[in-house]
């Protein structure tokens, strides 16, 4: 019975080990912490396996949601204080859009492959909330609904976080480009 359950769990969950590991590395910022997070995630998922509804979202968002909670539980324990993020509702965040950016010539044709290391630094400099939404969007290609499920927030919050995260990465890349005396007008959306 136990072996059958474990086998079925392995079939459904283990194909997503790479996705969970990738996110764990990006969230924790360290290899050994990431490994602990991954192990804890799969152990919790296995315990909760009988409650899992494959039809609702699929195994990957389910595992990533568990990882998300494991990470924040550990982070809250170590910090002993809640995370404060200046979230803005999607209906209001457009009010904060940069007028000048909206009116100016937009960015085009950035040679992204010249900035791999800078992109890494920029993403690692984001707060975990922005980082996780950005990577769930880009790496795991989850829909906004799935990202909202993973992060436990509203779709509007996902959209505003994504916008902010892209903006922050753009600003960081702009700074790197300025340091390297490259053209800086193309990084921010």
């Amino acid at each position: 019975m136990g072996n059958t359950r474990a086998k079925r769990f392995e079939e459904i969950a283990l194909p997503h080990l790479d996705a969970v590991h990738r996110m764990a590395r990006r969230l924790s910022g360290g290899t050994s912490d990431a490994e602990d997070l991954v192990q804890e995630t799969f152990a919790r998922a296995f315990r909760a396996f009988d409650e899992f509804e494959l039809r609702e979202y699929g195994a990957k968002p389910w595992l990533l949601r568990i990882l998300h909670n494991v990470f924040y539980t550990h982070a809250a324990k170590s910090r002993r204080e809640p995370t404060l993020l200046d979230d803005v509702d999607f209906d209001r965040f457009a009010d904060e859009l940069d007028e000048s950016a909206a009116g100016s010539g937009g960015p085009r044709d950035v040679a992204w492959d010249r900035f791999d290391q800078e992109i890494k630094w920029a993403v690692e400099g984001l707060s975990p909330e922005y980082r996780s939404v950005l990577l769930l969007w880009a790496l795991e290609e989850l829909s906004y609904k799935e990202i909202a499920h993973v992060c436990g927030c509203a779709i509007g919050t996902v959209m505003s976080r994504l916008y902010r995260a892209r903006q922050l990465v753009g600003r960081a890349l702009r700074e790197y480009a300025e340091q390297r005396k490259l053209s800086t007008e193309r990084f921010e959306p």
Binding site: A6, V38, A48, E51, A94, G106, D116
Partner: protein, 331 residues
């Protein structure tokens, strides 16, 4: 739709997440505005760049094995699904509904707490009686005396009593050559670390392994105190694999014996073990748990880094946390 409105939806448009009327309005705007078309290209380019930069990280082989082991050991131990735990792990901790479920979990935990405490006390008393002269154990990583640790202690005792005669003349005299020769002979990676920085001199090496297991044994001695230290590389020991899989440190520590074995061995003989896919590794010496863990950690970290590199996994520089404590005073 104007540029300002489009900017609000640029990400959702690029991801195909807009509803039909907004999508049509956005398309209409894009036909007239090359700047906003550039913004869409920019978002798509950033997405591809992120996927390229962060999407090339294969899972370390060791981790995949550990996760599998943990699932299997959970299944073997009958890790029962618990409704409240499921709700908790499904992530409901952050909303009000699951906070209610969380309280149910805590209430159930409290009901089981007296029974769990009684069982723990009984186990501790049993261990104490079976091991009458045991000193108090330190640290969460210390586990009860296992068969593997007893085997390690017996070989360590036998070989250190032989001293320099333990050296196999067919094996080279420096650490790297010993590791290479024994690895070739045994068919798995044998380690023979250079521990001169930690005050241990190489004495000899032997392909003597452990009872029932093939393996290499490298023996070291500290000239000042006369303490012996053994490094074993042996065929996988299931108990070490299982315990390491459920240990957050990835390393387990166990007292091998507390009795001084001979003049060179004083105090409690401790053993530290960890596993890689093809072999298990054990350090054994009359040292404290912390000291042995400090010796084992860089060896294991180096092995993991090498294994990852072999699989094309590029990781950052490995930081070795070597504890620089003075040697304990002789008792």
């Amino acid at each position: 739709m104007n540029c300002r409105e489009f900017q609000k939806y640029v990400g959702a448009f690029a991801d195909g997440e807009l509803d039909t009327p907004t999508n049509l309005a956005a398309l209409e705007h894009l036909n007239m505005c090359p700047d906003c078309a550039g913004r869409v290209t920019h978002v798509q380019g950033l997405k591809r760049a992120l996927a390229r930069v962060f999407g090339r990280e294969p899972v370390p082989l060791v981790l995949a094995e550990r996760v599998r082991d943990r699932i299997r050991s959970g299944a073997a131990e009958g890790e029962a699904p618990v409704a409240a735990t499921a709700a908790e792990s499904a992530g409901a901790m952050l909303d009000a509904t699951s906070r209610r479920t969380g309280r149910t979990t805590r209430r159930r935990t409290w009901l089981w707490l007296p029974l769990a405490t009684a069982a723990a006390v009984a186990a501790a008393v049993s261990l104490w009686r079976n091991w009458p002269t045991a000193e108090p154990l330190r640290g969460a990583a210390t586990l009860a005396l296992g068969q593997w640790a007893a085997d390690v202690a017996s070989v360590h005792e036998r070989c250190s009593a032989m001293g320099p005669r333990h050296h196999d003349v067919t094996i080279a005299k420096d650490c790297d050559a010993i590791a290479a020769t024994l690895s070739d002979r045994l068919g798995f990676k044998v380690i023979a670390p250079d521990l001169t920085g930690d005050g241990f001199e190489l004495v000899g090496a032997e392909a003597c392994g452990l009872p029932g297991r093939r393996g290499g044994h490298v023996l070291y001695r500290q000239p000042q105190t006369g303490e012996w230290l053994s490094v074993f590389s042996v065929e996988p020991i299931r108990e070490i694999e299982r315990r390491c899989a459920s240990s957050c440190k990835g390393v387990i520590c166990a007292p091998a014996t507390r009795q001084p074995l001979h003049a060179g061995c004083r105090g409690t003989l401790m053993a530290v073990g960890w596993s890689m896919p093809s072999a298990s590794y054990v350090l054994c010496a009359p040292r404290s748990e912390d000291e042995l863990l400090a010796l084992a950690a860089p060896l294991r970290a180096r092995q993991i880094a090498v294994a990852d590199r072999a699989r094309g996994h590029v990781s950052g520089p490995v930081r070795f946390a070597i504890k620089t404590q003075p040697d304990p005073a002789p008792r």
